[in-house]
Symmetry: D4
Subunit: 250 residues, 8 copies
């Protein structure tokens, strides 16, 4: 794993630390420790899973968000906070002058040493109401170091719309497809490309859409091969998968 991790275990190997101490040190890098060194934490997460810790804002106070953001900014130079509100951004901005806010995506970003944008991910959405989720996916993919192409408003009710983008769907390294209501777009897209499709159901709809459940089931039962699904409205989750795909072999 990471050098930090190996160093700890080497300390065990060379008698400099007991087994119990080694386990304690690992635990100490958990966010519950009092004297938390976030730089270390983030470093471990980034090495282990490809991208550092991300702030999921709901359930946190603006002050907590700003405080975590400030520490992550100092430690790694990169901050990504999702589902952020305007007031959370104000709190962050008060501490980090170069923070920026993508309002449609509800994402706060700080990038002091931006990751290079590599490869290519297509982000496709069915309707206007799906755009916030598409924007969240795009903004996250961007800061995670992926070149992103957006294709919006190509729902299956008017097939000519998606048929005009077949080239882009085939030349990307991964395709994120976002749709609510009937959730039929990924089935159509996966039949038009040979690239992996990450499908995101949205809660757009009413009545028997059951908050996105209908679209979720549609996507899990897609008759076209090459589709995997993330949680409802989870643009960030789709970005994580697509970014991992796009970085394979880069």
């Amino acid at each position: 794993m990471s050098d930090t991790l190996r160093n700890l275990l080497d300390a065990v190997r060379y008698g400099a630390m007991s087994v119990e101490e080694a386990l304690s040190h690992l635990a100490a890098s958990s966010p519950s420790a009092d004297a938390l060194d976030f730089a270390t934490l983030d470093h471990l997460r980034g090495e282990r899973t490809g991208f550092g810790e991300v702030i999921y804002c709901p359930g946190k106070t603006d002050d907590q968000i700003a405080s975590i953001a400030a520490r992550l900014a100092r430690a790694s130079g990169i901050v990504l906070a999702t589902r952020a509100t305007e007031s959370a951004f104000a709190a962050v901005r008060a501490q980090i002058a170069d923070a920026r806010f993508d309002r449609e995506a509800r994402v706060i970003v700080v990038e002091r040493v931006p990751l290079p944008r590599v490869g290519s991910v297509a982000v496709v959405s069915a309707g206007t109401a799906d755009r916030p989720v598409a924007s969240e996916a795009s903004a996250c993919l961007d800061v995670m170091g992926n070149a992103v192409g957006r294709i919006d408003d190509v729902g299956v009710a008017g097939l000519h719309r998606v048929l005009g983008h077949v080239g882009a769907l085939r030349s990307a390294r991964a395709v994120v497809v976002i749709a609510g209501m009937d959730g039929a777009l990924p089935s159509v897209v996966a039949g038009l490309t040979d690239k992996p499709v990450v499908a995101v159901p949205t809660s757009v709809g009413y009545g028997a859409s059951f908050g996105g459940l209908a679209a979720l089931l549609t996507m899990l039962n897609a008759c076209a091969p090459g589709i995997a699904v993330v949680n409802i409205d989870n643009g960030y989750g789709a970005a994580c998968v697509a970014s991992r795909i796009n970085h394979v072999g880069q």
Copy 2:
């Protein structure tokens, strides 16, 4: 309503029958009456709703099916029995020499005075496994007096398949679309035609298809206008709706 019905009520009007007697006579035409005259019954149903009584076989013995079929055949010359088994057909055939059996559709038909086949209904299905439901719909539409066109194996995973039938979808008077798994085909079809689309989810699929529930929800949430839905695997139900549509104004 029917002449029979009006005659009864006229009898009340002209003092030939009490109100209680009139209600009793109406009740007497119910199938639970001991001395049931099926011809009368069927006549009423046919006049009232456009097609006579249909035998739904599950839960009935072969003997019961054959006996009902024989009475309907004598009364109206037309028998339609759905979800029939081979042994049910044998029992019917023993009594009605000119009965025929569509094995894929699981439908028994007797037609002594066939209804004229009018108008045009397109029956479209997504995959091979959806064919029994498509055949049930087609066979029922046929005996109900509709000209039927079949379009099979045009699932959305290969869009070129359905795109090759746009002309047929637009020239029909009603379109029945049958699909399991993701149930996405009606959304695509309804965007290609201006005719009413009757969508039939099928129980084809596995895992999170939940016996057709996924396809049912997809269709209820279709993003294209002009779609209404019947019960899972209910080819007969779709035929009833499409036949009523096709006969409007004929």
Copy 3:
């Protein structure tokens, strides 16, 4: 299809345009294109599916709604916006002086060259609380060019109410039936007429009505033939299906 569409493909045929260009042009008529010509778009949608684009208001700002409405009004002379609020109407009215608002139906309408009202659609509702959905269906049917008859408050708890309208149910070309709670009305209506019944479950009810799910399941399992179902509270969707039925053969 439409002349516009055929013209494009003819351009391919006569060498004036490459295949890729043709597909791109089709895509360019999608609403995501920057230089969107809504008139063209609407023209295509209307030709392809029988009625132009409709504005579904939820998730759009009042400004967006007014802007889209203005462009549709200029292009086709007909605007239909559903689930509209009072403030959305104010925004539209500021731009389109002849816009009108049906408050119970929550529908904004502009009609400069009204479609002729043809045929006949009966809109039947069970209880007072179902009226907004019935009004949405009626208002949409009206602007789509259908003669509409309303029958309200005829729930099955007092059967004499619906029995008094049998004539109207039989003389219409299509019947829309709207009910919440137990959703039993379509089963009764479909047994009284030979016309296609489009059933709309509403979210009226409480407890185990589960936001309209109970009524939806009732309608999908209706024991009377000739019923197809649209999504919960979807008066607009029912209007689309009924209008397509009513225009068949007109």
Copy 4:
């Protein structure tokens, strides 16, 4: 409560028994006690709840059923066993010569001192496939001492059928209404009578009937007043409620 119960507690009162002993004696009348005296048990249940213990056959061997039946027959002269099979009846018959078997109701009955049939309960069913449940309800009501009237095949798809029985529905002291598929019949019946309606959903149906769930929800959401619901296919349960109603004040 019963004399037996009071006797025990009187024994406590007069010092003949400790509190712990009294509780132990009560426990000893439970069927898990080794030296079980079924006559006593049944006597208590009958006094406490209006009818003695009933044998629910599923999950019991034929021998167990026969053995319990024999003991109940000796103790009280009345045996009622529900959901019985042909082989269970054979086992019972071998021990109790005067046992009888209602095959459609799947009910075994022994009646040596029949309860007088009092009052009046109407048992109404919608379709042929609902008859086994209606027969279970009728057979149980009969042995529980109720006069029963059957009204079958009066589903709402043909309203004239139920309208012909309004008199019977109004003159009964309780009405049991049994229906599968859309489960709409209780809503109609409760609007035609002023008597309590016990609704029984059946598992008759397919697709989105979900084994009777659709009918269950319909009945719980009935728009007509005066309906209460028992479990799916639970003819016995409906009989218990209706018998209690019918015996009130007798």
Copy 5:
């Protein structure tokens, strides 16, 4: 049925009215008619089902509620409005000086010729939070002409509480049992009495209580005989059933 109804049909019999006219007259007594005579309407409902029309307030404006109440008060002298708010009561009070409001029950009542309180219904509730539903049931039972006894806070977690009321449970003619959370109280009560038990699940609870679904399922699956169930939180519905039971044979 009622004299009004019979008079109409007699008019048919004696040639004074055509069949179509008779049906129209029946329809004219529906609340959708413009010149609605509520006295006639209520009279019919009361005769047919045992109690006149009840105003369910949600979805109606305060003005509508007050207007309907005024007409019902004039026609029959009895008004019952459920799920009423303080402002709805203010509107009613402005028109009907003798209207009263039970705030816990959320019920508005006007009684100019009170029905005699007959028989006996026990209303039993498990916890404090179930009291509003118990009060709705009690208030409705009262105005419907039933003598009511309340037993509150006797949940099964402390069995001695319900055991102290066995006498009352056995001497009532009907027992309404109201419980949320685990919904176990009806099972215990039905084992202690020989009277019919009307069980009302409430939405009291959290997490996996799913808004009362858990309690509803518990009650439908009760292991004690003699229980029937109404919709979640439906105190009014339980009152309708219990009142019908209590009036049988009175």
Copy 6:
């Protein structure tokens, strides 16, 4: 059971009280009695189930909460109120000067004769958003007389975090594990300890977490042995179980 209970029954034994009187006295200690002696009530509950009555605040007014708290404080010297708001605390504080409020846990506590803190319970939570539930569990365990150890933010996405606490998980007498989203933490913890694990799903999550249902199902299906589950977000319920476990044999 308790002395109070035994005294009552002894009174029956020695003829000082009739059976009916004994049952009435038991009933009189229910909270619905007008002249409620809460000290008696609490005393019985505490003796019978190990801890006195707890105030669940939702659905009660601030005044009611304060009044009950004051009576419990006088009677037993211990008050525990869960899901309390700031204003409820203000009301309690006005009557009980030594009441304290744990804001994260939403718990009001009064302890005049604190129970000794015995044994050891570990309270483990997966993420920051699960902390309110963990705090409720901890605060309740504390006042119920348990020594509590907290381990927070040890979700399975970074396994090293929980692995650093194996010693604490094995030395506790009971382990409460709290997790939302995927609810996977109890499965991991139960594989690392030989102590009983009480799992608490939380409603933390979105989309297909369905308000905690996903985590609930995960925990019920845990592949590691030794896990039992309480209701969603039910920190208090987990504390009750863990406290009972921890007090066994103490």
Copy 7:
């Protein structure tokens, strides 16, 4: 943890083994390793979680079951196989002469060095049909080294039955309560004892019991404190939890 585990890590500490080798050794004790030494495996599991590996039979061939059982018998002298069939037992018996089979519990046991039976666990069941689950719980508890007391057929429909066992419920160290249908028994039991209650819903029931879901929800929502729940029909799972509870502090 165990000596084996500590020895491995000590080897790292003293330089005898690299970190990678240590992790590999741990992995080698997984059952997927080719040269699997089951004795080692079981030893680790037993030390880590309190009881060795248990064979869950479904999905394994008789030969596989017999082979695993033989290895476990050699290694630890204790075998526990759940959900076993008669033929699986025959296969095991052919290899292990002293294996025994509890047919009602469907459990195969080999005990060469039986664990001492300590403490006390009460296993309580509601009805006859719940006995197989109760027997599985009892048999597993027995071989895991717990003294077990059985209390059967004490469903809440006849409260006197469970009231006669209050002493046993209070003197046990843990109580397992098993119930299907309404699942109400744990709520009653937990109100009668101060010991932890492990509730097991069973799939006994029909209709809206949904295979045990109704009982599961009842138990999760129990209004009495001190209850935690395991999966439907999971007698083994309840035994694991109860055994852990019973062994705390022994």
Copy 8:
């Protein structure tokens, strides 16, 4: 797209074919055409989506499977049939001597010109019962041209098992993780690697696992980033996604 496709459209461009003819030709390559040339079909599918048509056996007769397999074998030299039975294999073998059958995976394979095995996909499963799904995924990945590594029996109940494979999880290009019951394994794996994780819930489990629904929800709600999910038991579907990922950039 493919040359075949481009040739058709070029024919339109150069006037050799009308637009209608071009669409008809495309439709003619659908499997519903009478004179179907499967080689052409497969060629199109392979070019468009990366792998040719796969035979899903359920719902097809053995003869149909053998006939389709023979045509695919002639056309492309590669056959993959999933969910095959022994008798289906016998039918295929009779026509294709070099067909082979992986019984655990239930997969029939013919490979005359095997695709080169490139990259690396790790297939990880939690328990023995998950092996058939893991084998289906592995067998499909193999024939689709991927190098596959299997890691079995590493469920989270014994964490040391999966921790011993961290290196393999990090060096693969894609990871497929298969788990039933609690479905917790993907959450753990995704926290240990930076590669995309394709999670497959299985129907392994009982009670509240609801046929895999519990595991499905767990995976959709995974707290670790980088996971996407396919349908329950869908090893083939996971292989399609993982193969597309593994081939990106190869």
